[in-house]
Symmetry: C2
Subunit: 197 residues, 2 copies
Amino acid sequence: MPKLQVASDKSSLTERDWEQAALNTIAHQGVAALAVEALARDLGVTKGSFYWHFANRDALIKAAVMRWEDNDIKTFERSIAMLSDPSSKLRLLFRRTIKEIQSHLIFSALFRSTDHPVVAEVMQRVSERRVSFLTRSYEELGMDSSAAGHRARLTYLSYVGFLQYYQQFKALRMSQQEVSEYIEHVIQSLIPQQHEE
Amino acid sequence: MPKLQVASDKSSLTERDWEQAALNTIAHQGVAALAVEALARDLGVTKGSFYWHFANRDALIKAAVMRWEDNDIKTFERSIAMLSDPSSKLRLLFRRTIKEIQSHLIFSALFRSTDHPVVAEVMQRVSERRVSFLTRSYEELGMDSSAAGHRARLTYLSYVGFLQYYQQFKALRMSQQEVSEYIEHVIQSLIPQQHEE
DNA sequence: TTATGACCATACGCATGCGTATTGACAAAT
DNA sequence: ATTTGTCAATACGCATGCGTATGGTCATAA
């Protein structure tokens, strides 16, 4: 009979554990660097165990990436989507860029690995959702549909570029302070200000 | 005695030929996908030839990437640097994003491969040069030093993000027309307008 | 206490890709 | 005509990494 695995019981591994470890590797070294034998080593077992839990490497990637997407959606809906003022939404979203680093690192790594079909599919959906959200927010701030769409793309793509730059040259330049100032500049530059007279 | 190779003489290959082929592969499949045996196949020879021209794979990457950087600098200095009006410089630079696709594809591919030390070094220099140029241009347009720096980063990183998105989902969405409109929106949004009264 | 199912180790086959060693072909110089 | 230097083919060794096959351990259910 199947065993009921409790969180603290680390006597044996579950699919979840493997997916979690996979996401960790992806975050720091990218999808290409994800090797099952290395992963098994990290988890203190051999790959004989891996192939009991998953059919192959691709199945792991798929499961891990979809778990990330799921978590991404839930986190978003528990925070930003609950705000009503569009300007506040955007500001919070922008400032989020430097919090919850792990999730952003995964995002960035996945964005660079769209040669893998499953990853491409997921990043497709993620991009669409985020750009749509941004477009709606800019429309609510009074921009016309066309401008809002372009501004949404500009916003999203500057986010993509920032993460890539920040991740790859991280030991480099730009203190935490500078990053904060940069984000505030972006807020000033991209979010239309409401001058109520 | 060494043979003097003319451009049209394709009876045998030169270092340049290998570097050119390497850059082409990098542009379309990234640095990681660069394999000497596959490259030799593309050039119609075997790898026995490759190791006569280069010590190893890394030497090829280094030579190819540095050739690209060199060409990048020269192209820049032959066009944009020659303009005097900073606003014109920036506009031309932005609109360049959709021309000379090959060079942009290489840029984007290299930016995703900074795990390779030589590539990291080159992209480091390239990034610095471009951000510096943008910063100076924005300052010439009247922005203060701090704002100009941030705006330069925002500009550069949105460029990085755009290329990555455009490359990876290229068959997808966004017609040439849409891209043009997007670029014009970016120009409007990021370049301060001179209202002379 | 025996049997079953969950989890893992060991050992293998196979493909890819780097780098080396050796030999060959062919043009230009002597 | 012979030699020398340039470019390339062939064949090998080696490492990595995927996937499979098979057997072992250990808890729990019967």
